[in-house]
């Protein structure tokens, strides 16, 4: 098991390194520079600021410095935001995104798994049809439609929450609901598929034959295996949700991480773009590691093979 974890961690680090290299190559090929929007600064000051951030060095040196600085947690200060390290910017925005993302995940699971299980346990009944229609509708509702609708109904008409902004303690509810409802639809479909496939297998028939109750069959025998497709989906989804959904953040005007992914790329803020990419890759890799680990625990046929 330790070999399994060790080799996965090593693979994950290689993936993060790869992400850094590709981000760097893309950024350096994009026209423009981090100071392009500040037009009225003299040439020598511009050169000085670029040099202070190490942007006058040869490209391989720059890339190497990024890798070293991320590996040693000694983060660069962006040339666009003097005095504020990129770690400061990310750590300020991450709690907002993480709170919304985690709540959305809980909502999605709490809605999606019962809905999918209900559909799978009563195949081809009205319950099954109705929940799958609901799930399909959920998948087809873009967050840019659902978000404004929720803001309109619960924010502007009923006045239960603020329609946008990040002021009160309950401002996470509407954005989390927007994302949670949409993702619950995916989870419901995956749960239904996974559970139906599992219930059709031999070992379930064996359990039935030896007289296990329906409850015991579902919870003790089927559920572990039926969770696998959902678990697979959750890895990248959790990472994506926690790093902020850019649409939801812009609809509800939240100071989350999503804005920095867009802003860094649009402004050619090399340091911030490298840092956000590394952070995103770190989360993806960590969640995938967690999913692999849980999968090996839940399904003895997969096991801890390195």
């Amino acid at each position: 098991m330790f070999r399994f974890i060790f080799s996965r961690v090593l693979q994950g680090l290689a993936v993060i390194l790869g992400v850094l290299c590709i981000t760097f190559a893309l950024l350096k090929n994009a026209p423009g520079s981090p100071l392009q929007s500040e037009r009225n600064i003299p040439e020598h000051i511009r050169a000085q600021r670029m040099a202070a951030s190490g942007l006058d060095q040869p490209l391989p040196v720059q890339l190497w410095r990024y890798i070293v600085s991320f590996a040693t947690f000694d983060f660069p200060v962006s040339v666009r935001t003097p005095g504020r390290g990129v770690d400061e910017i990310i750590l300020e925005a991450f709690p907002v995104s993480a709170q919304i993302g985690l709540s959305a995940l809980v909502i999605a699971l709490a809605l999606g798994i019962p809905l999918g299980a209900l559909a799978a346990l009563r195949p081809n009944t009205l319950d099954d049809r109705a929940s799958m229609v609901a799930a399909t509708l959920g998948i087809c509702t873009p967050s840019m439609v659902l978000g404004p609708l929720l803001a309109l109904v619960f924010g502007l008409k009923l006045r239960w929450f603020n329609a946008s902004g990040w002021y009160d303690a309950d401002d996470w509810v509407l954005p989390a609901l927007t994302l949670g409802i949409i993702y619950s639809a995916y989870i419901a479909r995956l749960t239904r598929g996974g559970l139906r496939e599992t219930l059709a297998q031999e070992f379930i028939r064996t359990a039935r034959a030896k007289g296990a109750s329906e409850m015991a069959i579902i919870f003790r025998h089927a559920f572990k295996l039926a969770c696998l497709p959902v678990l697979n989906f959750l890895g990248p989804t959790a990472a994506g949700l926690m790093t902020g959904s850019i649409i939801t953040e812009s609809v509800f005007q939240l100071p989350g991480l999503g804005q920095h992914f867009v802003g860094a790329a649009v402004n050619r803020d090399y340091d911030l773009a490298m840092a956000t990419a590394a952070f995103y890759a770190l989360l993806i890799v960590s969640f995938n590691l967690l999913v692999d680990f849980l999968q090996a625990l839940l399904n003895p046929r997969i096991g801890f093979k390195a």
Binding site: I139, M144, V145, G258, V266, I284
Partner: protein, 290 residues
């Protein structure tokens, strides 16, 4: 099937799949809905008395009337015409970006699966790396590098959406390449490219069609996201994403500006998703997913 004449020993599997597809009432309804939407978007503007970008500043924003079925926007432009015109753009981006993603994904997956272990491992590690990439940054940088021209947007989207397709195709090739008919072809002296085109490609078409049909709505959502952020289709032209973002900005006072484009966009996504489900049931009868 029991009524089929005995002499027909084996029927074309594609014909069988088509039969299964049109026997599913939900899929048929979804196909009709999609055809109707495409027809409205393509032919509608020809019959509309308005130009999608013509402003009527005296009219400004008005709720739906008999002469403006979906109302007008803040510049007095006819929304129905703009929605139909935007639909052309959104559907075109959806189809072209899916085509780009499919071509890259299928080519990459075929070559990775059929090549030796080392090449395969290296190619799939690159896919792992790209999976861990913040796609929004990737697309924005691509748009920044290539400019915001229409025909480059679907290339940028296609360039990020091919990863799952590559994995699907490679998985398929790995199970296919050790089957007897491939070994026989190899023993008869068939080369890499011959096996790839003659034996692998025809056998991955099924999964590719299924996955491509489910990629179209995803791609359209991505285009809408980009347009919503102002990085996609540039004004005065509008895709559904642009129209929805304009509508969302003024939904409290001018709700019809959000409702019209949203209904069209969601209906299209619904039809595409249902067709994708139907195709999966028809082409892969064993699957119980979904």
């Amino acid at each position: 099937m029991s009524t089929a004449p005995v002499s027909r020993v084996s029927e074309n599997p594609w014909l069988q799949a088509w039969r299964r597809l049109v026997r599913n009432p939900v899929t048929v309804a979804a196909m009709m809905l999609l055809v109707a939407l495409v027809l409205i978007c393509c032919a509608g503007p020809l019959f509309s008395p308005y130009h999608p970008n013509d402003q009527d500043l005296e009219l400004k924003a008005t709720a739906p009337t008999r002469s403006h079925w979906l109302g007008t926007d803040t510049l007095g432009r006819d929304l129905a015409t703009r929605v139909m015109h935007g639909g052309r753009i959104s559907l075109l981006v959806g189809i072209l970006a899916t085509a780009v993603a499919s071509i890259i994904g299928v080519g990459y997956g075929l070559i990775a699966g059929l090549s030796g272990k080392r090449v395969d491992a290296a190619m799939m590690r690159l896919v792992d790396v790209l999976y861990a990439f913040p796609f929004i940054t990737f697309v924005i940088i691509l748009v920044v590098i290539f400019g915001r021209e229409f025909w480059l947007i679907f290339i940028a989207i296609g360039a990020v959406e091919w990863l799952t397709m590559a994995r699907v195709v490679r998985g398929q090739v790995l199970t296919l390449k050790n089957l007897e008919f491939v070994l026989a072809a190899r023993a008869a002296g068939a080369g890499f490219w011959h096996i790839l085109f003659k034996h692998m490609l025809p056998n991955v078409v099924g999964p590719v069609i299924i996955y491509a049909s489910l990629t179209v709505p995803g791609v359209m959502m991505l285009e809408a996201t980009l347009s919503f952020l102002g990085l996609g289709i540039q004004p005065p032209d509008a895709s559904w994403g642009v129209l929805i973002s304009e509508g969302a900005a003024s939904m409290e006072t001018l709700p019809w500006m959000l409702i019209g484009p949203s209904v069209f966009f969601s209906a299209t996504l619904l039809a595409l998703n249902l067709i994708g489900d139907g195709l999966r049931d028809a082409l892969d009868p064993k699957s119980t997913q979904g």
